[in-house]
């Protein structure tokens, strides 16, 4: 059975695309066949982070509009087996996507035997974001530990409950997961950031994992590889935990407490 997962947030710049890239790569590393679709038509970020922006010939919009076949547009990832990317168009806008068109692409992917279809949603709550979540079975809501991001996530959770295909058809509701990114425990201690409890208290959905704020995330994005593949970084471990928990494993949450820097570390840095 294919599972359609939307990665969404409401607010922009919280790490949706980073999370989409890492989770899809992580699932592919586990041996699942994964397709990741960039719904952010007009901006196109996913292909950059996945390092395949120079290999895009046909994109998602071409497929939706029938100008290319799905197989022509799916880009096979070079590092990870079983991982395929459907890039967004840079030259079109979000109106180029239609509900029927998107539905057909997702049905075709299901037929092709993909285990997971990850929809990387654009920011906002308008058409693009609604299309990305419409066909979802599960949702991963990405939030930063600050008030406006949490509020926007609350809003998008309301939309998930009201405007998805499952909601309209009266089926089982979308399963909701939370990923808290850019978490910095020492700034939480000083009260500059919301704590995990503050966020889960308000959103009241299952926490899939906390990704620590880390330079490696930016470095990985800039070098065009999902951060989950950078085995030296905390963020990669955190994302791997997220993938394990997503697949049903019980794992204790990490990276929640500020590391006490010893004298040695204080003098010599990391």
């Amino acid at each position: 059975m294919s599972r359609v997962i939307v990665v969404t947030s409401g607010k922009g710049g919280v790490g949706k695309t980073t999370t989409s890239a890492s989770i899809s790569a992580g699932l592919a590393l586990k041996g699942y066949k994964v397709a990741v679709i960039d719904f952010d038509v007009g901006l196109r970020n996913l292909d950059l982070i996945m390092g395949c922006e120079r290999r895009v010939v046909y994109d998602f919009v071409n497929v939706v509009q029938g100008e290319a076949t799905l197989n022509q547009a799916l880009i096979r990832d070079k590092r990870t087996k079983n991982l395929y990317i459907l890039a967004a168009s840079q030259t079109r806008d979000k109106d180029a996507l239609t509900q029927e068109g998107v539905g057909k692409v997702i049905d075709d992917l299901k037929e092709d035997g993909f285990d997971f279809i990850i929809c990387d949603s654009p920011a906002g709550i308008e058409k693009g974001a609604q299309l990305a979540l419409y066909f979802a079975d599960e949702a991963i809501v990405v939030t930063n530990p600050e008030v406006s991001s949490v509020r926007d996530s609350d809003r998008i959770l309301g939309i998930l409950q009201a405007k998805s295909k499952r909601a309209e058809g009266g089926d089982e509701p979308i399963i909701e997961h939370l990923v808290l990114t850019r978490y910095n425990p020492s700034r939480v201690e000083t009260g500059e950031m919301l704590s995990v409890e503050d966020v889960t208290d308000l959103l009241n959905i299952k926490l899939l994992g906390v990704i620590p704020e880390s330079e490696q995330v930016l470095n990985a994005s800039n070098s065009g590889q999902p951060v989950i593949l950078d085995e030296d970084s905390d963020a990669a471990h955190a994302y791997m935990d997220v993938v394990d928990r997503f697949l049903g494993e019980e794992k204790e949450h990490r990276f929640l407490i500020a590391e006490k820097k010893g004298l040695f570390k204080k003098i010599f840095g990391k």
């Binding site: 609350d154 809003r155 959770l157 009201a162």
Partner: protein
């Protein structure tokens, strides 16, 4: 005192004669055949005609009425929307009945209870930012929290088993007896029958633990001691 006359609407059951042919001879023969099966049954019964085709022959109705009368039936009217047939019917002395319309019954939405039953509207989860819930003519029970940016409105009382962080309106159609109950209150706004108070005007001591809010003398009264 007894009335001389009285006009009343009534629903009667009448026999309808459906017409599928505009040939008078053919039609007469078919009617005769029908009557032969049970001659007594048709004597004196009122008949309503209902043509299922357009009647091109302008004398058709007059001839048919005459024939039915001969057979001791009483044609009283015709059911049609066709203007030409209506005109013929006038000459033949028939009343005109409008065709039955299929009424589209408004579909009941999911949350509404059976008619007549007006228990509280129950919301099982939290009400999230941007969502609005209205319990018309009844109470509202929210099992979760009312998150910031969410709004709940009830014509009756409002009960919240989570935290209230959004806006709450009770007695929204003017019931001053309506109350708000909440497990914990830190709202953007509370309002009963039009009297409202913003978060900053609510004493901090009311913002931890169970609270009951009612309206007394045009003022909102906060009572934290109900469960003590």
């Amino acid at each position: 005192m007894s009335k001389i006359v009285d006009l009343k609407g009534s629903i009667l059951s009448l026999t309808v004669l459906n017409l599928f042919s505009d040939q008078i001879d053919e039609t007469k023969k078919a009617i005769a055949a029908k009557i032969e099966q049970a001659p007594d049954f048709f004597v004196g019964i009122p008949i309503v005609l209902e043509p299922q085709i357009t009647l091109k022959d302008p004398t058709f109705l007059a001839l048919l009425v005459e024939y039915l009368t001969q057979l001791q039936m009483i044609p009283i009217g015709i059911r049609t929307e066709d203007e030409a047939i209506k005109e013929q019917a006038e000459y033949a002395g028939l009343a005109i009945f409008p065709r039955e319309k299929l009424k589209n019954r408004p579909k009941r939405t999911k949350n509404e209870p059976e008619e007549g039953l007006k228990t509280a509207l129950m919301v099982k989860n939290s009400v999230r930012s941007g969502q609005q819930i209205y319990a018309k003519d009844r109470d509202l029970i929210v099992m979760g929290s009312i998150n910031p940016g969410a709004e709940v409105v009830a014509d009756g009382h409002v009960h919240v088993f989570g935290k209230v962080m959004g806006k709450v309106f009770a007695g929204s159609s003017g019931d001053t007896q309506a109350k708000i109950f909440a497990k914990q209150l830190n709202p953007e706004l509370v309002c009963i029958a039009g009297m409202y108070q913003l978060s900053e005007d609510i004493d901090e001591s009311f913002k931890n633990g169970f609270i009951e809010i009612s309206l007394n003398d045009g003022k909102l009264v906060f009572n934290p001691g109900l469960l003590d």
